[in-house]
C-alpha cells in the first residue's frame, strides 16, 4: 500500500518504433501541486494517458491512490478530474450539456460550483460545441473538472488556449482546490505557470525524466546570475573557480556562478571593494533550457 497519490515506476511505452516513454518514475504525494514540464513531444500526454488507463504501459507499474491505473480505472476515476490536452467535444451538443454530461459520467453527482465557474470563466453554455474556439472548449473541460469534487486533478496543458485573464481564473481554481488539500498534477510547457503554482516538479525530455525536485532544490544545483560593481579590479574573477560566462566593463562584471563556489568568490569580491551586488536565481526557463541543451 503506497502512501503516494500518484506513483509510477519504470513506466515504458513504445508506439511502434517511437520510444514515447522510457523508465518513467514519478511520486506525487497528497496535497501537492505537482508540475510536469517538457517540450512538445516529450511524453507528457502519453504519461497522463497511461495514468488514466487509456493507454496500457508496456512495462512498469502505475498507481493512483495505491490502485492499479489499468485494472481499477473505473473506481479510480470517481476521484479524478481530468482535463485532456486536446479538448475535442461533440459538435452537436451545447457546452452546458457537455458539462452536465461529464459530471454525470463521473457518477459522483455533485456539481457545486457550476454556476459560479461559468460566470468566472465568462462562458456561454448555450452554444453548440461546434462553434466554440479552442479556448472555449478548454473552458468546458475546466468547468467540468473543477465543478465536481475530486481528490486528484490531472491537467494536461490546460491553459494552452486561454487568454491571460482566464489563466488567472485558472490559477485561482488550482489554488482553491489545493487549499482544500487536493492533489494537482499539472503538465505544461508554460514555465511561468508552473513556477507560480507548483511546489514540486519533474522535467521530462524525450520520454525520460531528467530532473525531479522542488524548484529551490533545482535552483541550488545550478548557477545564479551575478551582477557586481566594485572600486577595485575585477579582472581576477577570470581565474576563480565556479565563474562562467564572465563579461567585464570598467568597474562592473556580469557572470554565472556555481552555487557551491559562492564563498570563494565572495571573499575575492570583498578584497576588491564591491559596492553593489545583485544575484538572481535561475528562472525555471533557464533551468529548463539547461536541461534542454544538455
Amino acid at each position: 500500500m503506497s502512501e503516494m497519490t500518484i506513483s509510477m515506476n519504470g513506466i515504458t511505452k513504445d508506439f511502434g518504433r517511437v520510444h514515447a516513454l522510457t523508465g518513467v518514475d514519478l511520486e506525487v504525494g497528497p496535497g501537492e501541486i505537482y508540475g510536469f514540464i517538457g517540450p512538445n513531444g516529450a511524453g507528457k500526454s502519453t504519461t497522463i494517458r497511461i495514468l488514466l488507463g487509456i493507454l496500457k504501459a508496456d512495462s512498469g507499474q502505475a498507481q493512483l491512490f495505491g490502485k492499479d491505473v489499468w485494472s481499477d480505472a473505473v473506481d479510480i476515476h470517481q476521484k479524478v478530474s481530468y482535463v485532456p490536452g486536446d479538448v475535442n467535444l461533440w459538435p452537436s451538443l451545447t457546452g452546458g450539456e457537455v458539462i452536465d454530461l461529464f459530471v454525470r459520467l463521473k457518477k459522483t453527482g455533485d456539481q457545486r460550483y457550476r454556476k459560479e465557474l461559468i460566470e468566472k470563466f465568462d462562458f456561454d453554455p448555450t452554444r453548440k460545441c461546434g462553434t466554440y474556439s479552442k479556448g472555449n472548449r478548454q473552458k468546458v473541460a475546466l468547468i467540468a473538472a473543477f465543478s465536481t469534487d475530486a481528490d486528484v486533478y490531472i491537467l494536461d496543458e490546460p491553459t494552452s488556449g486561454l487568454d491571460p485573464l482566464m489563466e488567472m481564473v485558472f490559477r485561482e481554481c488550482v489554488r482553491k482546490v489545493a487549499a482544500e488539500g487536493k492533489t494537482v498534477f499539472l503538465s505544461s510547457h508554460i514555465l511561468s505557470e508552473v513556477e507560480q503554482l507548483c511546489t514540486r516538479l519533474s522535467i521530462i525530455r524525450q520520454g525520460k525524466i531528467v530532473d525531479t525536485g522542488s524548484l529551490r532544490e533545482m535552483q541550488h544545483l545550478t548557477r545564479n546570475q551575478v551582477h557586481v560593481e566594485a572600486t577595485g579590479d575585477l579582472g581576477g574573477l577570470k581565474t576563480l573557480e565556479g565563474v562562467h560566462d564572465l563579461s567585464l566593463h570598467d568597474g562592473e562584471a556580469e557572470f554565472h556562478l556555481d552555487n557551491d563556489h559562492t564563498a570563494g568568490v565572495m571573499a575575492f569580491l570583498a578584497t576588491q571593494g564591491a559596492t553593489r551586488l545583485v544575484s538572481t536565481p535561475p528562472t525555471l526557463e533557464e533551468l529548463f533550457m539547461s536541461h534542454y541543451e544538455a
Binding site: 485532456p84 467535444l89 451545447t94 450539456e97 453548440k128 461546434g130
Partner: protein, 538 residues
C-alpha cells in the same frame, strides 16, 4: 446604410482565380460525378424496358402514387423511354446538383469565414463583396458547364425518343435548379451563425422542397410547383418542352443573389443575422446521462433517418407489389435474377424475399454505422474524455453492441411493417402476414452477424473497418446480381445474406440461421475482449 458601389467588388477576379486554383481537382470531380449521375443511365435505358409491352408495364408501375411521390411525375399521352427517364431520374438528379451547389457555396463563403481565411482576404485591397461576387460568378460558370456536359451526354447516344431539344431543356432545368440552390445558400450563409448551421438550414430546405414536391405531385399541383424540384418537372421534357420553369428559376436566382449581396453588406464578418434559435440549452436533458445515454444521443439521428428510409422504401415497394409481379412475370431477366423458374406461377414469395433481402442489406448500413461510431469517437479523440471519467470500457462497448442488435431487429421489423401496411390496402389478394414476418425473421442473423463483424473489427483490427463495408457491398452484388451473372448458389453462400435459405423458394433451415447467430456472438465477444485490452488511439 452601407454603400454598395462597384468598388465593393474590386479584386473579385483574383479571388475567383484563387478559388479555381484551390479547387482545381475538386471542381472537375464534382462536374464529372454529377454529369455521370444525371446522364449516365441514358444509354442503359433500352435494356431496362425495350419492348413496348415492357414499357407499358413499367409505365403502369411508375404511375403508382408511391412511385410518383418517391421519384416524380409521369406525364405525356404515351409512355416513352425518355419520359420514364425523366420521371425516374430528374428529381434525384436535381437533388444531386443542388447538394453540389450547396456544398461549394458554403465551402467558399461561410467555411472560409469561420476559419478566419476571409478575414485575411478582407485585409487585402479587396472590396467587401468581392468574395461573394467571385462565388456568384463561379456558381454560374459551374452550372453552365453542368448544363453543357449533361445535355451533350444525354443526346450523344442517340437513344430512341431522347430528342435534342428535350435533352437540352432537361439539363437546363437541372442546371437552373442548381443555380437556384446556390443563390439560396448565398442568402442562408448570411443569416446563419456558422457553416454547420448554414449546412443544416440549406439541406433542411432541400429536404422540405422534396417533401413538398412529393406531396404536391400526388395531390396538389400548386404545392408541387412551389417546390423548385417540382417546378423543373413542369418543363415536360420530351413531351411539351416548356421553357417557362427555367426562366422562372433563373429570375428567382438573380433576386436571391441580390438579396445575398444586400445582406452581406449589412452584417459583420463572423456574425449571423438570425436570432439565436434553439440554442438556449444550458443544461443537459435527463436522457443525456451515462455512457449509454451519450451513445444514443450520438447515434439517434442517423438511426431515426435510416428507420424512416427503410420504412418508406418498404412501403413504396409494397405499394408496387402487384405491378412488380406482373413486370417480373413478363421479364425473363428479372425472373433469372430472383431465381424464379420459367413456369412458376406463384411468385409472391420470391418477390417478397427479394424485397426483404434488399431492405435487409440497406438496413445493415445503420447497424455498421452504429458499431463504427465507437471507433470514430475514438479517432476524433473524444473517447479519451469519456474513459477518463468513471466509465468502464466493457459497459461502453456493450452499449454500442446492444444498440446494434436493436437496430438490426428494428430495421427488419420496419421493413415488414412497411410492406404489410401498404400491401393490405393495395393488393387484391393480400400477402399473408406470417409470410412477411417469417421472411424478415429469416434474415435477422445476417444483420446480426454483420454487427458482430463490425464489433470484432473495432476491438481487434481498428484500422480495418473498411473491411466491413466492403463485405457488405460484396454481399449486395453477390445476392442481387449473382444469379444474373451466372454465379453458382454456393458462391452466394459466402456472404451472410446468401448463406441463409431463400425461404419460401428454398426450404427453411435452422443450420445457417443458428450458425450466423453464433458467429455474430463469437465475433462480438472477441471484439469486446480486444477493446478492453488495447490502447485508445486516434
Amino acid at each position: 446604410m452601407a454603400t454598395t458601389s462597384l468598388g465593393s467588388f474590386s479584386g473579385w477576379t483574383q479571388l475567383l482565380r484563387m478559388i479555381q486554383r484551390r479547387d482545381r481537382w475538386v471542381m472537375p470531380a464534382w462536374i464529372i460525378g454529377v454529369t455521370m449521375f444525371c446522364a449516365g443511365f441514358v444509354p442503359a435505358m433500352p435494356s431496362i424496358a425495350g419492348s413496348s409491352d415492357e414499357m407499358g408495364i413499367l409505365g403502369e408501375l411508375m404511375k403508382n402514387p408511391a412511385m410518383v411521390a418517391m421519384c416524380g411525375l409521369i406525364y405525356g399521352s404515351e409512355v416513352t423511354l425518355s419520359i420514364i427517364y425523366s420521371q425516374m431520374m430528374m428529381v434525384w438528379s436535381a437533388l444531386v446538383v443542388a447538394v453540389m451547389n450547396i456544398l461549394i457555396v458554403i465551402r467558399h463563403t461561410r467555411t472560409d469565414e469561420d476559419e478566419g481565411r476571409l478575414e485575411v482576404i478582407r485585409a487585402l485591397p479587396t472590396g467587401r463583396l468581392a468574395n461573394l461576387g467571385a462565388v456568384s460568378v463561379l456558381m454560374v460558370y459551374i452550372n453552365v458547364v453542368v448544363f453543357l456536359a449533361c445535355g451533350f451526354f444525354m443526346g450523344v447516344f442517340n437513344v430512341e425518343s431522347f430528342t435534342v431539344r428535350g435533352c437540352l431543356l432537361y439539363s437546363a432545368a437541372l442546371a437552373t435548379c442548381g443555380l437556384f440552390f446556390a443563390a439560396l445558400t448565398m442568402v442562408i450563409v448570411q443569416i446563419a451563425h456558422s457553416s454547420r448551421e448554414a449546412m443544416g438550414i440549406s439541406t433542411g430546405l432541400l429536404g422540405f422542397f422534396y417533401i413538398l414536391r412529393a406531396y404536391g405531385d400526388v395531390s396538389s399541383e400548386t404545392l408541387a410547383v412551389i417546390s423548385p424540384l417540382g417546378l423543373i418537372q413542369r418543363t415536360y421534357c420530351f413531351y411539351e418542352d416548356r421553357l417557362m420553369p427555367v426562366v422562372i428559376l433563373v429570375s428567382l436566382s438573380l433576386v436571391l443573389m441580390g438579396l445575398g449581396f444586400a445582406l452581406s453588406s449589412l452584417r459583420d464578418l463572423g456574425q449571423g443575422l438570425l436570432p439565436n434559435l434553439g440554442r438556449a440549452r444550458a443544461h443537459a436533458p435527463r436522457t443525456l446521462s451515462g455512457e449509454w445515454g451519450l451513445t444514443w444521443r450520438l447515434t439517434r439521428s442517423t438511426i431515426l433517418a435510416w428507420s424512416a428510409t427503410v420504412f418508406i422504401s418498404a412501403a413504396a415497394y409494397g405499394s408496387v407489389m402487384g405491378e412488380m409481379e406482373d413486370f417480373v412475370m413478363s421479364n425473363p431477366l428479372y425472373q433469372q435474377m430472383m431465381g424464379i423458374g420459367a413456369n412458376e406461377k406463384d411468385i409472391t414469395g420470391p418477390v417478397v424475399t427479394m424485397l426483404v433481402l434488399i431492405m435487409g442489406i440497406i438496413g445493415t448500413i445503420p447497424v455498421l454505422t452504429t458499431v463504427f461510431k465507437l471507433r470514430s469517437e475514438e479517432v476524433q479523440g473524444r473517447l479519451d474524455y469519456v474513459l477518463g471519467k468513471s466509465v468502464s470500457r466493457w459497459r461502453l462497448f456493450i452499449g454500442y453492441a446492444g444498440l446494434a442488435v436493436i437496430v438490426s431487429a428494428v430495421m427488419l421489423v420496419l421493413t415488414a411493417a412497411g410492406f404489410w401496411v401498404v400491401i393490405q390496402s393495395v393488393m387484391t389478394e393480400p400477402v399473408s402476414t406470417p409470410l412477411i414476418a417469417k421472411v424478415a425473421f429469416n434474415y435477422f442473423p445476417a444483420l446480426f452477424a454483420f454487427g458482430g463483424l463490425g464489433l470484432f473489427l473495432v476491438g481487434y483490427a481498428k484500422k480495418y473497418t473498411w473491411v466491413g463495408w466492403t463485405y457488405l457491398v460484396v454481399s449486395f452484388l453477390m445476392t442481387y446480381m449473382g444469379s444474373m451473372m451466372g454465379l453458382p448458389r454456393w458462391a452466394e453462400r459466402l456472404t451472410p445474406f446468401g448463406l441463409l435459405q431463400r425461404w419460401p423458394s428454398e426450404p427453411f433451415s435452422w443450420w445457417p440461421w443458428i450458425g450466423l447467430m453464433v458467429a455474430g456472438i463469437v465475433l462480438g465477444v472477441l471484439g469486446a475482449l480486444g477493446f478492453r485490452r488495447r490502447d485508445i488511439l486516434t
